[in-house]
C-alpha cells in the first residue's frame, strides 16, 4: 500500500487536567475527503491546530508524505502543502477580498523581500488570486474590503485564502458554521467539486453534508477516537449510535 499523505500516530494534548486530544491516530490518503465529527468539546479544533502546527502536541507524531513534521511551525507546514480554514472567520478585514487571497499567493511565490514594485499591480499575484475567487464564486466581490463582505461571503473567502496556497491537504474547521441555507448549499457543492483534487479533512456538524461528501468518517468523543470507517460503517456502528448520533436520526 502506498504511504498515506498524512499519518498521525498517538497524538495527544492536554490543557491542565483535560485531555483535549488523547492518543489520536489516523491517516488521510491523497485526494481523500476525511470527515471528523463529534460533539462540542470533543477535541476536533485542537486536532486541527496540532496538524497545522499552532499547538505543539505533548506526545505523538505527525508525518506528511512520510516525513516527520511534528516539530515544524505553521508557516513551514504551509510551505509543505498543508492549509487550514478557521472556524471563526480569520481574514484580513481591512484588505479587499483580492488582497486577502493575493497575500496567500505571495507567501508561496518566494521571499517577500521585494521593496519596489507595487504588489497590487503585480499580475503574478493578482491573476492567481482572481482565479481562486472566480472558482469559489466571489469574483464579483474581489475589490470589496473583507470587513464589508456578508458572513457567508467571508466564509467563502476563508476557504479561498486557504486554497490560494495550492495545498495538498486542506483542513476545514466547520466551513459552514453560521451559514444560511443558500450559502451552505453553495459551500457543499464547492466542496463536492474540490473533492478528489486535494486531500480534505473536514470538521462539520451538518451530518447530511458529512455523510454525503466523506470517503471516510472519524468520530471523536472526549478527545479520543471511538470509530473510523466509511459513512455506511459509521452509521451502523453501535457505539457511535449510542454516543453521538442518537437512535431516532437513524430510524
Amino acid at each position: 500500500m502506498a504511504e498515506p499523505l498524512l499519518s498521525v500516530a498517538g497524538l495527544c494534548k492536554h490543557f491542565g487536567g483535560i485531555m483535549a486530544t488523547d492518543d489520536i491516530s489516523l491517516t488521510i490518503a491523497d485526494g481523500e475527503l476525511h470527515a471528523i465529527i463529534g460533539p462540542n468539546g470533543a477535541g476536533k479544533t485542537t486536532l486541527v491546530a496540532q496538524l497545522m502546527g499552532e499547538l505543539r502536541p505533548d506526545c505523538g507524531s505527525i508525518r506528511l508524505d512520510g516525513k516527520d513534521v511534528t516539530a515544524l511551525p505553521p508557516y513551514r507546514r504551509s510551505l509543505r502543502g498543508i492549509a487550514r480554514s478557521f472556524q471563526i472567520t480569520s481574514v484580513f478585514p481591512e484588505f479587499t477580498a483580492c488582497d486577502n487571497v493575493a497575500l496567500a499567493v505571495q507567501a508561496h511565490s518566494g521571499g517577500s523581500f521585494r521593496f519596489w514594485r507595487a504588489a497590487r499591480a503585480d499580475p503574478a499575484l493578482r491573476e492567481p488570486a482572481r482565479a481562486v475567487l472566480d472558482e469559489i464564486g466571489l469574483g464579483h466581490r474581489a475589490d470589496v474590503p473583507a470587513a464589508v463582505l456578508a458572513h457567508g461571503e467571508q466564509r467563502l473567502l476563508e476557504i479561498a485564502i486557504a486554497l490560494a496556497s495550492r495545498p495538498r491537504l486542506l483542513l476545514l474547521d466547520e466551513p459552514m458554521a453560521g451559514m444560511g441555507i443558500d450559502d451552505a448549499a453553495r459551500m457543499m457543492s464547492f466542496l463536492a467539486r474540490l473533492k478528489g483534487k486535494i486531500a480534505l479533512l473536514l470538521i462539520e456538524h451538518d451530518m447530511d453534508a458529512v455523510f454525503a461528501l466523506a470517503d471516510r468518517v472519524t468520530v471523536m468523543l472526549y478527545g479520543s477516537i471511538i470509530a473510523t470507517g466509511t459513512p455506511a460503517q459509521i452509521r451502523a456502528n453501535a457505539e457511535v449510535r449510542k454516543a453521538y448520533l442518537g437512535e431516532d436520526e437513524l430510524a
Binding site: S90, P93, A107, F113, A118, R120, A162
Partner: protein, 318 residues
C-alpha cells in the same frame, strides 16, 4: 477608494508645495527665522514618518524611537570631534550604526508584542540614553559642541540656513516617496498583513518576524538620518535629544497626523511643534493644553489631521 487615493495625493502635493516655497516667502516678508523653525519641524517629520512605517503599517508601537535620533546625532558629533567632517562618511556611519542598533533592539523586542513590546523598546531607549550620559569624553550630560556642519563638498554649504532647509526637505520628500513604494510592495503587504492578522499570516506560509525586523531596521536607519540632520542644525548634541519623552513626542506626531498615511506624520510634526511653540509663548505649562488636544484628536479624529483633511476634500468633490 479612488477618491481617497486622490485626496491623499492632493494633501501630499499641497504639503510639499508649501514647504518648498517657504524660504523665499519667509525672506520676502522678512521673517527669515521661519526657515530654521521649519527645518527643525521637517527633521522631526522625518523621524515621525520613519516611525509610521513600523507603527502605522507594521503595528509595532516602538516607545524608543528617539534612540535612533540620538545615535544619528552622536554619529555626526563624535566623528566631528575627531575631525572627520566629511558628510558622506558622517551620514553613512549614522545610517549604519542606527540600523545596527535597530537590528539588535528589534531582534530582541520583536519576540514580544503588545504592552511588553512598548516596555522593552522604552527600556532599550533608556539604556542608550544613559549610555550617552556616561560618555564623558564626549561631554556626558553636558553634550558636545560641533565646530563645523557636515561637509558635502563646496557645492552644498550647510552653514547656509536655506541650503540646510532644502537638504532636509529633499531627504523628507525622498523618504516619503520611498516609504510609499515600500508599503505598497510585497514587503509592505507582508508587514501590513502581520499587523492585521498574525495567526493567519503563519497559516498561509509567512514567517513574519524577519519582515518585521527588516521594517524595524529600515525605520531605525531613517530616523538615524533625522538625527544626523538635527546635529547639523543645532551644531550640538546632548543626551536630552533622546529622552524618553522625546520618543513619546514622536509617537504623538504620528497619532496626531494620522497613523498609516506617511504624509500624516509630517502634518503631525508641523502641528505638534507649532502648537508647542505657540503654547509655550503663552504659558510655561503648555503641556496642560497640549494633553487635552491630543486626547480630543484620539477620541474624535482617529485618523488624525490627515483624515480630517482628506475627508473634507472628498466631501467637496462629492
Amino acid at each position: 477608494m479612488k477618491n481617497s487615493a486622490s485626496a491623499r495625493g492632493l494633501v501630499t502635493f499641497a504639503v510639499l508645495a508649501i514647504l518648498a516655497l517657504l524660504p523665499p516667502v519667509a525672506s520676502l516678508i522678512g521673517q527669515g527665522f521661519y526657515v530654521d523653525v521649519f527645518t527643525r519641524i521637517m527633521i522631526f517629520a522625518i523621524a515621525a514618518l520613519s516611525l509610521d512605517i513600523i507603527l502605522g503599517y507594521g503595528g509595532m508601537v516602538s516607545f524608543g524611537h528617539a534612540a535612533y535620533l540620538g545615535i544619528g546625532a552622536y554619529a555626526v558629533g563624535i566623528l566631528a570631534f575627531y575631525g572627520i567632517d566629511n558628510g558622506f562618511v558622517q551620514f553613512g556611519v549614522a545610517i549604519l550604526v542606527s540600523a545596527a542598533a535597530a537590528l539588535f533592539i528589534g531582534f530582541i523586542s520583536l519576540r514580544t508584542s503588545g504592552i511588553y513590546f512598548i516596555m522593552i523598546t522604552l527600556a532599550f531607549g533608556q539604556m542608550i540614553y544613559f549610555l550617552s550620559i556616561s560618555l564623558n569624553t564626549y561631554g556626558g550630560d553636558n553634550g558636545l559642541n560641533i565646530e563645523r556642519p557636515s561637509d558635502f563638498t563646496r557645492l552644498v554649504d550647510l552653514r547656509d540656513a536655506n541650503t540646510l532647509y532644502y537638504l532636509v526637505f529633499a531627504i523628507m520628500a525622498l523618504f516619503l516617496f520611498l516609504g510609499r513604494r515600500l508599503v505598497a510592495s510585497r514587503f509592505g503587504m507582508t508587514i501590513r498583513g502581520a499587523k492585521s492578522n498574525e495567526r493567519r499570516m503563519a497559516a498561509i506560509g509567512f514567517s513574519v518576524l524577519r519582515y518585521r525586523l527588516a521594517a524595524f531596521v529600515v525605520a531605525g536607519a531613517m530616523c538615524g538620518v533625522a538625527g544626523a540632520l538635527l546635529a547639523n542644525q543645532d551644531l550640538f548634541v546632548s543626551p536630552s535629544i533622546m529622552q524618553w519623552t522625546r520618543s513619546g513626542e514622536i509617537l504623538m506626531m504620528v497619532i496626531l497626523g494620522g497613523m498609516g498615511t506617511l504624509v500624516g506624520p509630517i502634518l503631525g510634526a508641523v502641528a505638534f511643534l507649532a502648537l508647542e511653540t505657540a503654547l509655550s509663548d503663552v504659558t510655561g505649562h503648555w503641556q496642560a493644553i497640549m494633553g487635552p488636544i491630543l486626547v480630543l484628536v484620539v477620541l474624535f479624529a482617529r485618523d488624525g489631521i490627515f483624515g480630517l483633511l482628506s475627508r473634507r476634500l472628498e466631501l467637496r468633490r462629492g
